[in-house]
C-alpha cells in the first residue's frame, strides 16, 4: 500500500514550565490534503505545528515526514523545504514584494533569472499583476494582499508541505473568506499538504479535509469534519465546536461544501 501519511507524530511530548504542552501525541496527517488543528487556547496546537519545522523540539518522541525522522535532519535545510505562513504575516518591510516572495530560493542560491520568472508565476497565481506589484513594498498594499504574498512566499520554493499558523485570523471577515476560498482552489490545483492551525470553527469546518482537535496537549479526535459532526467522540467535542454546527441543516450544508465521498476513496 502507498504510504499516505505526510507527517506522523509518534508519542510526542513537550513540557513547558513543568506543564505538558503536548502529551503523548500520536497523530497522522494525510498527504496532499488540508488538515486543520483546532482546540482551546493553550491546547498546544501552535506548538504541534512548530514541531514540524523544528522551531520547537519535542522532549520525547519522533516526528516523521515521508517516513524520515526529522530529528536526524538539518533544521535549516528542513525548513527551506517546508512553507511557513504566520498570523502576523511577517513580510519584511524593507524588502520589495519580489524580494519577500523569493526569500527561500535566494537562501538556497537560485539564479536571478529563475527567481524573476518564479515570482511572475506566483503573482499571477494569487491574482496580483506582476508588473504592478513586484517592486512595491508591503506597507503599500492591503492586509489581504499582504497575506496573499505570505502564501506566495511559502509556495515559492515549491515545498510539498506548508504550515500555516492562524494565517487569516488578523484579516477582516471579507478578505478572510476570500483567502479561504483561494486556499482551497490553490490546494486543488497544486496538491500541497497543508497543515493549518486556527481557532475559527467556520474556517476549520470549511477548509479541512481532516480536522484534529486537541485539548491540554492531548488528541481528542482526528477525522473528516463531517465525521466529526456526525460522530463527535465526546461531550467536549460538541461543546468546543459549538452546538449550532451539529444541527442537521448545517451537516447538509457541509455535504454540499465537501466532496465527502471523494475524501473516503
Amino acid at each position: 500500500m502507498k504510504n499516505t501519511a505526510a507527517v506522523e507524530f509518534v508519542n510526542i511530548s513537550k513540557v513547558f514550565e513543568s506543564r505538558y504542552a503536548i502529551k503523548h501525541l500520536n497523530l497522522t496527517l494525510p498527504k496532499e490534503k488540508i488538515t486543520t488543528i483546532v482546540g482551546p487556547s493553550g491546547c498546544g496546537k501552535s506548538t504541534a505545528l512548530k514541531m514540524i519545522n523544528k522551531l520547537i523540539v519535542p522532549d520525547e518522541g519522533n516526528i516523521f515526514i515521508d517516513g524520515q525522522d526529522i530529528g536526524l535532519m538539518d533544521s535549516v535545510n528542513l525548513r527551506r523545504n517546508i512553507g511557513y505562513v504566520i498570523q502576523q504575516i511577517g513580510l519584511f518591510p524593507l524588502m520589495t514584494i519580489e524580494e519577500n516572495i523569493s526569500i527561500v530560493p535566494r537562501l538556497k542560491g537560485a539564479k536571478k533569472e529563475d527567481i524573476k520568472d518564479r515570482v511572475t508565476e506566483l503573482l499571477n497565481l494569487i491574482g496580483l499583476d506582476p508588473e504592478q506589484y513586484r517592486y512595491r513594498y508591503p506597507s503599500e498594499i492591503s492586509g489581504g494582499q499582504q497575506q496573499r504574498i505570505g502564501v506566495a512566499r511559502a509556495l515559492c520554493a515549491d515545498p510539498t508541505i506548508i504550515l500555516m499558523d492562524e494565517p487569516f485570523s488578523a484579516l477582516d471577515p471579507i478578505s478572510r473568506v476570500q483567502l479561504q476560498d483561494e486556499l482551497i482552489s490553490l490546494q486543488k490545483k497544486l496538491k500541497k499538504t497543508i497543515i493549518f492551525v486556527t481557532h475559527d470553527m467556520d474556517e476549520a469546518l470549511k477548509i479541512s479535509d481532516q480536522m484534529v482537535l486537541l485539548k491540554d496537549g492531548e488528541l481528542v479526535q482526528s477525522s473528516h469534519p463531517i465525521d466529526l459532526l456526525r460522530q463527535p467522540k465526546n461531550e467536549f467535542v460538541r461543546e468546543f465546536i459549538g452546538d449550532r454546527y451539529f444541527q442537521d441543516s448545517f451537516i447538509q450544508h457541509m455535504y454540499s461544501m465537501h466532496d465527502y465521498e471523494g475524501a473516503k476513496r
Partner: protein
C-alpha cells in the same frame, strides 16, 4: 583673526574626534548586536558602560593622564570611551526592537543565525543605530574641545586661549567652527542614511510620517 590657525585647529579637531568615533563604532556596534542576542548579559554590561557616561568629561580626561600621559592619544582613548555608550545603547535597542514575528518567520523559512542578522536585524535596526552614531559624533565633537586641558590640541585651544585673554572673538573663533562641525557631520550622516534607503521606500516613509501613521 588668524584664519590659517583656525583651519589647522579645525583639522586637528576633526582628527581628534573622528578616530575615537570610528573606534567606538567598531567596538559598540558588534557588542550591541551580541548583547541584543544574549539577553542575560545585556543588563549588567550596559549598566557598566553607562557608568562611564556618568563620569564628568573633564574628570575622565584627567584620569587618562596618570596612565597615558598627556597629548592626543589619552584624549582619544577618553573620547572613545565616551562615544561607546550612545552607539551601544542604540545598537542594542535597534536590534532588540525588531518585531519578534519577523525573526520567527525568518528562522521558520530556513535562515541561519547569520542570515537573520544580516537580512533582518541589521537592515531593520539601521536607522536607530545610525541615530546613535550621530549622537555620539555630536557629543564627541563638543567634548573634544575640553581635551585641550590635557594638551590634545584642536579647537579647544582657541576657546581656552580666548577665555584666558577674556577675548570673546577668540573664544568664538574656536566655538563657532566646533558648532558648525557638529551641524555638518550630523547632516552628512543623515544624508548617508537617506542614500542607503531605496527611493521608493523613502517616499512611503515620508507619506507615512505626513499622515501620522507608522506602519
Amino acid at each position: 583673526m588668524n584664519w590659517i590657525e583656525i583651519l589647522t585647529k579645525t583639522l586637528e579637531h576633526i582628527y581628534l574626534s573622528f578616530i575615537p568615533l570610528l573606534f567606538a563604532c567598531l567596538i559598540a556596534i558588534p557588542l550591541g548586536i551580541f548583547l541584543a542576542n544574549h539577553e542575560s548579559l545585556s543588563n549588567k554590561f550596559i549598566g557598566l558602560v553607562s557608568a562611564i557616561q556618568t563620569i564628568p568629561s573633564l574628570a575622565l580626561l584627567g584620569f587618562m593622564v596618570p596612565f597615558f600621559g598627556i597629548g592626543t592619544l589619552p584624549a582619544m582613548i577618553a573620547l572613545t570611551l565616551y562615544s561607546i555608550f550612545p552607539v551601544l545603547q542604540n545598537t542594542y535597542t535597534g536590534i532588540r526592537d525588531v518585531d519578534e514575528s519577523l525573526i520567527e518567520i525568518g528562522y521558520g523559512m530556513g535562515m541561519t543565525r547569520k542570515q537573520i542578522l544580516w537580512m533582518v536585524q541589521i537592515p531593520m535596526g539601521r536607522n536607530v543605530i545610525m541615530a546613535g552614531v550621530r549622537m555620539a559624533a555630536v557629543h564627541t565633537l563638543g567634548i573634544a574641545t575640553i581635551a585641550t586641558y590635557i594638551g590634545a590640541g584642536g579647537l579647544g585651544d582657541l576657546i581656552v586661549r580666548g577665555i584666558g585673554m577674556i577675548d570673546p572673538v577668540i573664544i568664538a573663533s574656536g566655538a563657532v567652527p566646533t558648532a558648525l562641525l557638529a551641524i555638518i557631520v550630523n547632516r552628512l550622516l543623515i544624508s548617508l542614511e537617506y542614500k542607503l534607503t531605496p527611493k521608493r521606500l523613502r517616499i512611503i516613509q515620508k507619506n507615512n510620517k505626513k499622515s501620522g501613521g507608522f506602519k
